[in-house]
Symmetry: C2
Protein backbone atom coordinates (compact mmCIF):
# COMPACT_ATOMS: atom_id res chain seq x y z
CA UNK A 1 0.00 0.00 0.00
CA UNK A 2 1.16 3.52 -0.77
CA UNK A 3 0.08 6.74 0.84
CA UNK A 4 -0.66 9.53 -1.56
CA UNK A 5 -2.17 13.00 -1.58
CA UNK A 6 -3.79 12.45 -4.97
CA UNK A 7 -7.58 12.24 -4.58
CA UNK A 8 -9.04 8.78 -5.18
CA UNK A 9 -10.31 8.58 -8.76
CA UNK A 10 -11.76 5.40 -10.20
CA UNK A 11 -13.64 7.39 -12.85
CA UNK A 12 -17.01 7.08 -11.16
CA UNK A 13 -18.92 10.27 -10.42
CA UNK A 14 -20.27 9.29 -7.00
CA UNK A 15 -21.48 12.83 -6.24
CA UNK A 16 -23.77 12.70 -9.29
CA UNK A 17 -25.06 9.27 -8.25
CA UNK A 18 -25.84 10.49 -4.75
CA UNK A 19 -27.64 13.53 -6.22
CA UNK A 20 -29.64 11.21 -8.50
CA UNK A 21 -30.55 9.10 -5.50
CA UNK A 22 -31.83 12.18 -3.70
CA UNK A 23 -33.76 13.43 -6.75
CA UNK A 24 -35.38 10.03 -7.36
CA UNK A 25 -36.33 9.65 -3.71
CA UNK A 26 -38.36 12.83 -4.17
CA UNK A 27 -39.73 11.78 -7.58
CA UNK A 28 -39.99 7.95 -7.67
CA UNK A 29 -41.89 7.96 -11.00
CA UNK A 30 -38.66 9.08 -12.69
CA UNK A 31 -37.03 5.86 -11.43
CA UNK A 32 -39.23 3.71 -13.69
CA UNK A 33 -36.94 2.51 -16.48
CA UNK A 34 -37.44 0.27 -19.47
CA UNK A 35 -34.39 -1.31 -21.10
CA UNK A 36 -34.74 -2.67 -24.62
CA UNK A 37 -33.07 -4.85 -27.21
CA UNK A 38 -33.95 -5.69 -30.80
CA UNK A 39 -32.88 -8.97 -32.32
CA UNK A 40 -32.89 -9.98 -35.99
CA UNK A 41 -32.37 -13.56 -37.13
CA UNK A 42 -29.57 -13.80 -39.70
CA UNK A 43 -29.12 -17.47 -40.66
CA UNK A 44 -29.06 -20.75 -38.76
CA UNK A 45 -28.41 -20.01 -35.09
CA UNK A 46 -26.79 -16.64 -35.93
CA UNK A 47 -28.62 -13.47 -34.88
CA UNK A 48 -27.72 -9.82 -34.50
CA UNK A 49 -29.08 -7.74 -31.64
CA UNK A 50 -28.94 -3.99 -31.28
CA UNK A 51 -29.23 -1.71 -28.27
CA UNK A 52 -30.13 1.90 -28.88
CA UNK A 53 -33.03 3.41 -26.92
CA UNK A 54 -34.38 3.08 -23.41
CA UNK A 55 -36.91 4.87 -21.25
CA UNK A 56 -36.08 6.55 -17.96
CA UNK A 57 -36.22 9.77 -15.95
CA UNK A 58 -39.70 10.22 -17.39
CA UNK A 59 -38.69 10.25 -21.05
CA UNK A 60 -37.16 8.46 -24.02
CA UNK A 61 -33.38 8.17 -23.85
CA UNK A 62 -30.79 7.18 -26.42
CA UNK A 63 -27.28 5.78 -26.23
CA UNK A 64 -24.51 7.82 -27.89
CA UNK A 65 -24.16 5.05 -30.46
CA UNK A 66 -26.06 1.89 -31.37
CA UNK A 67 -24.40 -1.19 -29.85
CA UNK A 68 -24.52 -4.35 -31.94
CA UNK A 69 -24.06 -7.97 -30.82
CA UNK A 70 -23.65 -11.09 -32.94
CA UNK A 71 -24.64 -14.35 -31.29
CA UNK A 72 -24.30 -17.88 -32.63
CA UNK A 73 -23.54 -21.43 -31.59
CA UNK A 74 -20.03 -22.89 -31.88
CA UNK A 75 -18.83 -25.27 -34.58
CA UNK A 76 -19.04 -28.30 -32.28
CA UNK A 77 -22.83 -27.73 -32.38
CA UNK A 78 -22.69 -27.81 -36.20
CA UNK A 79 -23.06 -24.01 -36.29
CA UNK A 80 -20.83 -21.32 -37.79
CA UNK A 81 -19.55 -19.56 -34.65
CA UNK A 82 -20.29 -16.03 -35.87
CA UNK A 83 -20.59 -14.79 -32.28
CA UNK A 84 -20.57 -15.76 -28.63
CA UNK A 85 -23.25 -18.16 -27.47
CA UNK A 86 -26.27 -16.62 -25.71
CA UNK A 87 -25.25 -18.12 -22.33
CA UNK A 88 -21.76 -16.63 -22.63
CA UNK A 89 -23.41 -13.26 -23.31
CA UNK A 90 -25.32 -13.64 -20.02
CA UNK A 91 -21.98 -14.18 -18.25
CA UNK A 92 -20.74 -10.92 -19.82
CA UNK A 93 -23.79 -9.13 -18.40
CA UNK A 94 -23.06 -10.49 -14.92
CA UNK A 95 -19.32 -9.74 -15.10
CA UNK A 96 -19.82 -6.17 -16.27
CA UNK A 97 -22.55 -5.42 -13.73
CA UNK A 98 -20.49 -6.62 -10.77
CA UNK A 99 -17.36 -4.87 -12.08
CA UNK A 100 -19.09 -1.50 -12.53
CA UNK A 101 -20.35 -1.92 -8.99
CA UNK A 102 -16.86 -2.63 -7.66
CA UNK A 103 -15.63 0.64 -9.20
CA UNK A 104 -18.57 2.65 -7.83
CA UNK A 105 -18.41 1.18 -4.32
CA UNK A 106 -14.62 1.64 -4.17
CA UNK A 107 -15.02 5.28 -5.23
CA UNK A 108 -17.69 5.84 -2.58
CA UNK A 109 -15.37 4.33 0.05
CA UNK A 110 -12.43 6.39 -1.25
CA UNK A 111 -10.39 3.36 -2.19
CA UNK A 112 -8.17 3.67 -5.26
CA UNK A 113 -8.41 0.70 -7.62
CA UNK A 114 -5.40 -0.18 -9.75
CA UNK A 115 -6.72 -3.23 -11.57
CA UNK A 116 -9.83 -5.36 -11.45
CA UNK A 117 -10.44 -8.52 -13.42
CA UNK A 118 -12.95 -11.30 -13.13
CA UNK A 119 -13.14 -14.86 -14.40
CA UNK A 120 -16.60 -16.37 -14.77
CA UNK A 121 -17.36 -20.06 -15.08
CA UNK A 122 -20.87 -21.31 -15.73
CA UNK A 123 -21.43 -25.07 -15.54
CA UNK A 124 -24.09 -26.61 -17.73
CA UNK A 125 -25.21 -30.15 -18.46
CA UNK A 126 -26.38 -29.86 -22.06
CA UNK A 127 -28.57 -32.95 -21.67
CA UNK A 128 -31.14 -30.31 -20.65
CA UNK A 129 -31.22 -28.21 -23.83
CA UNK A 130 -30.91 -31.34 -25.99
CA UNK A 131 -33.99 -32.82 -24.33
CA UNK A 132 -32.15 -35.99 -23.29
CA UNK A 133 -33.07 -35.83 -19.60
CA UNK A 134 -36.03 -33.76 -18.44
CA UNK A 135 -34.64 -33.70 -14.89
CA UNK A 136 -31.66 -31.65 -16.12
CA UNK A 137 -32.32 -27.92 -16.31
CA UNK A 138 -31.63 -25.99 -19.52
CA UNK A 139 -29.60 -23.27 -17.85
CA UNK A 140 -26.46 -23.18 -15.72
CA UNK A 141 -26.27 -25.54 -12.73
CA UNK A 142 -24.21 -22.77 -11.10
CA UNK A 143 -21.90 -19.84 -11.82
CA UNK A 144 -18.59 -19.06 -10.15
CA UNK A 145 -17.12 -15.55 -10.29
CA UNK A 146 -13.50 -15.02 -9.19
CA UNK A 147 -12.07 -11.52 -8.80
CA UNK A 148 -8.44 -10.43 -8.91
CA UNK A 149 -8.25 -6.91 -7.52
CA UNK A 150 -5.26 -4.66 -6.92
CA UNK A 151 -6.22 -1.64 -4.80
CA UNK A 152 -5.05 0.64 -2.00
CA UNK A 153 -6.93 -1.43 0.55
CA UNK A 154 -6.67 -4.46 2.80
CA UNK A 155 -7.88 -7.88 1.67
CA UNK A 156 -10.91 -7.50 3.95
CA UNK A 157 -11.78 -4.08 2.53
CA UNK A 158 -11.56 -5.49 -0.99
CA UNK A 159 -13.84 -8.40 -0.09
CA UNK A 160 -16.32 -5.95 1.43
CA UNK A 161 -16.36 -3.87 -1.78
CA UNK A 162 -17.17 -6.98 -3.84
CA UNK A 163 -19.87 -8.04 -1.39
CA UNK A 164 -21.53 -4.61 -1.57
CA UNK A 165 -21.40 -4.65 -5.39
CA UNK A 166 -23.12 -8.05 -5.34
CA UNK A 167 -25.81 -6.69 -3.01
CA UNK A 168 -26.73 -3.87 -5.44
CA UNK A 169 -26.17 -5.68 -8.72
CA UNK A 170 -29.13 -5.79 -11.10
CA UNK A 171 -27.78 -8.76 -13.07
CA UNK A 172 -26.81 -10.75 -9.97
CA UNK A 173 -30.44 -10.34 -8.86
CA UNK A 174 -31.80 -11.31 -12.31
CA UNK A 175 -29.77 -14.54 -12.32
CA UNK A 176 -30.14 -15.59 -8.69
CA UNK A 177 -33.86 -14.82 -8.39
CA UNK A 178 -36.78 -15.67 -10.69
CA UNK A 179 -37.91 -13.02 -13.18
CA UNK A 180 -41.16 -13.23 -15.11
CA UNK A 181 -40.69 -13.39 -18.90
CA UNK A 182 -43.65 -13.28 -21.29
CA UNK A 183 -43.10 -14.26 -24.91
CA UNK A 184 -45.65 -13.24 -27.55
CA UNK A 185 -45.94 -13.51 -31.31
CA UNK A 186 -47.40 -10.46 -33.08
CA UNK B 1 -48.07 -19.23 -48.22
CA UNK B 2 -46.31 -20.65 -51.25
CA UNK B 3 -45.77 -24.27 -52.18
CA UNK B 4 -42.26 -25.08 -53.28
CA UNK B 5 -40.13 -28.09 -54.05
CA UNK B 6 -37.04 -26.45 -52.56
CA UNK B 7 -36.06 -28.24 -49.33
CA UNK B 8 -36.61 -26.21 -46.17
CA UNK B 9 -33.33 -24.58 -45.19
CA UNK B 10 -33.07 -22.25 -42.19
CA UNK B 11 -29.33 -22.92 -41.96
CA UNK B 12 -29.60 -25.21 -38.95
CA UNK B 13 -28.06 -28.67 -39.24
CA UNK B 14 -30.78 -30.59 -37.42
CA UNK B 15 -29.36 -33.97 -38.47
CA UNK B 16 -26.10 -33.15 -36.67
CA UNK B 17 -28.01 -32.02 -33.58
CA UNK B 18 -30.01 -35.24 -33.49
CA UNK B 19 -26.79 -37.23 -33.88
CA UNK B 20 -25.23 -35.26 -31.01
CA UNK B 21 -28.28 -35.99 -28.90
CA UNK B 22 -27.88 -39.70 -29.59
CA UNK B 23 -24.13 -39.64 -28.90
CA UNK B 24 -24.57 -37.74 -25.63
CA UNK B 25 -27.37 -40.03 -24.48
CA UNK B 26 -24.80 -42.84 -24.69
CA UNK B 27 -21.99 -40.75 -23.12
CA UNK B 28 -23.57 -38.25 -20.68
CA UNK B 29 -20.15 -37.18 -19.28
CA UNK B 30 -19.47 -35.48 -22.64
CA UNK B 31 -22.55 -33.29 -22.02
CA UNK B 32 -20.87 -31.54 -19.07
CA UNK B 33 -20.00 -28.06 -20.34
CA UNK B 34 -18.39 -25.03 -18.79
CA UNK B 35 -18.93 -21.63 -20.41
CA UNK B 36 -16.54 -18.83 -19.49
CA UNK B 37 -16.05 -15.08 -19.67
CA UNK B 38 -13.19 -12.82 -18.63
CA UNK B 39 -13.83 -9.24 -17.65
CA UNK B 40 -11.30 -6.43 -17.22
CA UNK B 41 -12.20 -3.11 -15.62
CA UNK B 42 -11.27 -0.19 -17.86
CA UNK B 43 -12.29 3.06 -16.12
CA UNK B 44 -15.34 4.19 -14.18
CA UNK B 45 -18.24 1.85 -14.99
CA UNK B 46 -16.62 0.80 -18.29
CA UNK B 47 -15.36 -2.78 -18.61
CA UNK B 48 -14.35 -5.06 -21.44
CA UNK B 49 -15.23 -8.75 -21.42
CA UNK B 50 -13.88 -11.43 -23.71
CA UNK B 51 -15.18 -14.85 -24.67
CA UNK B 52 -12.71 -17.34 -26.07
CA UNK B 53 -12.57 -20.81 -24.50
CA UNK B 54 -15.05 -23.24 -23.08
CA UNK B 55 -15.07 -26.86 -21.96
CA UNK B 56 -17.30 -29.53 -23.48
CA UNK B 57 -17.40 -32.93 -25.17
CA UNK B 58 -14.76 -33.98 -22.66
CA UNK B 59 -12.14 -31.40 -23.63
CA UNK B 60 -11.09 -27.78 -23.97
CA UNK B 61 -12.76 -25.97 -26.88
CA UNK B 62 -12.08 -22.62 -28.51
CA UNK B 63 -14.17 -20.20 -30.54
CA UNK B 64 -12.92 -19.37 -34.06
CA UNK B 65 -12.21 -15.84 -32.83
CA UNK B 66 -12.21 -14.03 -29.48
CA UNK B 67 -15.44 -12.09 -28.96
CA UNK B 68 -15.13 -8.80 -27.10
CA UNK B 69 -17.84 -6.80 -25.33
CA UNK B 70 -17.68 -3.28 -23.93
CA UNK B 71 -20.14 -2.47 -21.17
CA UNK B 72 -20.77 0.84 -19.45
CA UNK B 73 -23.51 2.97 -17.95
CA UNK B 74 -25.23 5.72 -19.96
CA UNK B 75 -24.58 9.45 -19.68
CA UNK B 76 -27.74 10.05 -17.62
CA UNK B 77 -26.00 8.00 -14.89
CA UNK B 78 -22.99 10.35 -15.12
CA UNK B 79 -21.05 7.67 -17.05
CA UNK B 80 -19.44 7.73 -20.48
CA UNK B 81 -21.66 5.29 -22.41
CA UNK B 82 -18.79 3.29 -23.93
CA UNK B 83 -21.02 0.24 -24.24
CA UNK B 84 -24.43 -1.23 -23.54
CA UNK B 85 -25.49 -1.49 -19.91
CA UNK B 86 -25.10 -4.92 -18.29
CA UNK B 87 -28.89 -5.43 -18.09
CA UNK B 88 -29.27 -4.68 -21.80
CA UNK B 89 -26.59 -7.31 -22.46
CA UNK B 90 -28.71 -9.83 -20.54
CA UNK B 91 -31.63 -8.97 -22.86
CA UNK B 92 -29.34 -9.69 -25.83
CA UNK B 93 -28.56 -13.12 -24.33
CA UNK B 94 -32.26 -13.90 -23.98
CA UNK B 95 -33.15 -12.61 -27.46
CA UNK B 96 -30.40 -14.56 -29.19
CA UNK B 97 -31.12 -17.78 -27.30
CA UNK B 98 -34.83 -17.77 -28.14
CA UNK B 99 -34.12 -16.76 -31.76
CA UNK B 100 -31.59 -19.56 -32.34
CA UNK B 101 -34.20 -21.91 -30.91
CA UNK B 102 -36.88 -20.63 -33.27
CA UNK B 103 -34.60 -21.37 -36.25
CA UNK B 104 -33.72 -24.85 -34.97
CA UNK B 105 -37.31 -25.85 -34.10
CA UNK B 106 -38.61 -24.53 -37.43
CA UNK B 107 -35.95 -26.53 -39.26
CA UNK B 108 -36.87 -29.67 -37.31
CA UNK B 109 -40.55 -29.12 -38.20
CA UNK B 110 -39.65 -28.45 -41.86
CA UNK B 111 -41.01 -24.92 -41.79
CA UNK B 112 -39.18 -22.34 -43.90
CA UNK B 113 -38.53 -19.06 -42.09
CA UNK B 114 -38.31 -15.85 -44.10
CA UNK B 115 -37.72 -13.36 -41.33
CA UNK B 116 -37.64 -13.39 -37.55
CA UNK B 117 -37.24 -10.38 -35.31
CA UNK B 118 -37.82 -9.82 -31.64
CA UNK B 119 -38.32 -6.76 -29.47
CA UNK B 120 -37.43 -7.09 -25.80
CA UNK B 121 -38.57 -4.76 -23.04
CA UNK B 122 -37.29 -5.12 -19.49
CA UNK B 123 -38.96 -2.97 -16.86
CA UNK B 124 -36.91 -1.86 -13.89
CA UNK B 125 -37.51 0.45 -10.94
CA UNK B 126 -34.03 1.83 -10.32
CA UNK B 127 -34.94 2.69 -6.73
CA UNK B 128 -33.63 -0.84 -6.12
CA UNK B 129 -30.06 -0.44 -7.42
CA UNK B 130 -29.84 3.06 -5.94
CA UNK B 131 -30.72 1.69 -2.51
CA UNK B 132 -33.69 4.05 -2.11
CA UNK B 133 -36.27 1.39 -1.30
CA UNK B 134 -35.17 -2.03 -0.05
CA UNK B 135 -38.56 -3.51 -1.08
CA UNK B 136 -37.72 -2.82 -4.73
CA UNK B 137 -35.64 -5.53 -6.37
CA UNK B 138 -32.41 -4.65 -8.19
CA UNK B 139 -33.27 -6.53 -11.37
CA UNK B 140 -36.12 -6.41 -13.87
CA UNK B 141 -39.68 -6.47 -12.52
CA UNK B 142 -40.50 -8.35 -15.74
CA UNK B 143 -39.43 -8.86 -19.34
CA UNK B 144 -41.67 -8.87 -22.41
CA UNK B 145 -40.50 -10.49 -25.65
CA UNK B 146 -42.50 -9.84 -28.84
CA UNK B 147 -41.75 -11.78 -32.04
CA UNK B 148 -42.53 -10.82 -35.63
CA UNK B 149 -42.11 -13.91 -37.77
CA UNK B 150 -42.69 -14.42 -41.47
CA UNK B 151 -42.68 -18.12 -42.37
CA UNK B 152 -44.35 -20.75 -44.53
CA UNK B 153 -46.67 -21.72 -41.69
CA UNK B 154 -49.97 -20.86 -40.01
CA UNK B 155 -50.16 -18.44 -37.10
CA UNK B 156 -50.72 -21.40 -34.76
CA UNK B 157 -47.70 -23.28 -36.12
CA UNK B 158 -45.55 -20.17 -35.63
CA UNK B 159 -46.76 -19.77 -32.04
CA UNK B 160 -45.97 -23.44 -31.39
CA UNK B 161 -42.40 -22.97 -32.70
CA UNK B 162 -41.84 -20.05 -30.33
CA UNK B 163 -43.32 -21.99 -27.40
CA UNK B 164 -41.01 -24.95 -28.08
CA UNK B 165 -37.97 -22.66 -28.32
CA UNK B 166 -38.92 -21.17 -24.93
CA UNK B 167 -39.21 -24.66 -23.45
CA UNK B 168 -35.62 -25.56 -24.46
CA UNK B 169 -33.98 -22.16 -23.98
CA UNK B 170 -31.01 -22.05 -21.62
CA UNK B 171 -31.24 -18.27 -21.08
CA UNK B 172 -35.02 -18.31 -20.57
CA UNK B 173 -34.39 -20.87 -17.82
CA UNK B 174 -31.54 -18.83 -16.30
CA UNK B 175 -33.74 -15.72 -16.07
CA UNK B 176 -37.03 -17.29 -15.00
CA UNK B 177 -35.55 -19.68 -12.41
CA UNK B 178 -32.99 -19.08 -9.65
CA UNK B 179 -29.35 -19.94 -10.37
CA UNK B 180 -26.68 -20.15 -7.70
CA UNK B 181 -23.84 -17.61 -8.16
CA UNK B 182 -20.77 -17.63 -5.94
CA UNK B 183 -18.48 -14.61 -5.95
CA UNK B 184 -14.93 -14.91 -4.59
CA UNK B 185 -11.90 -12.69 -4.36
CA UNK B 186 -8.55 -14.37 -5.02
Amino acid sequence: MTTTDTPVDNGVNVAALLEAREALTAAPEAAQFQWRANCVWEHGTHSRSTIERFFGLGGEQQHKTTFSFDADHPEIFASEDHGATPVEIVLVGLASCLTAGVAAVAQNREIQLRSVSATLEGDMDIQGILGIDSDVRNGFSGIKVTYDIDADASADEIKAIVAQSQKRSAVYDIITNPTNVTVEVR
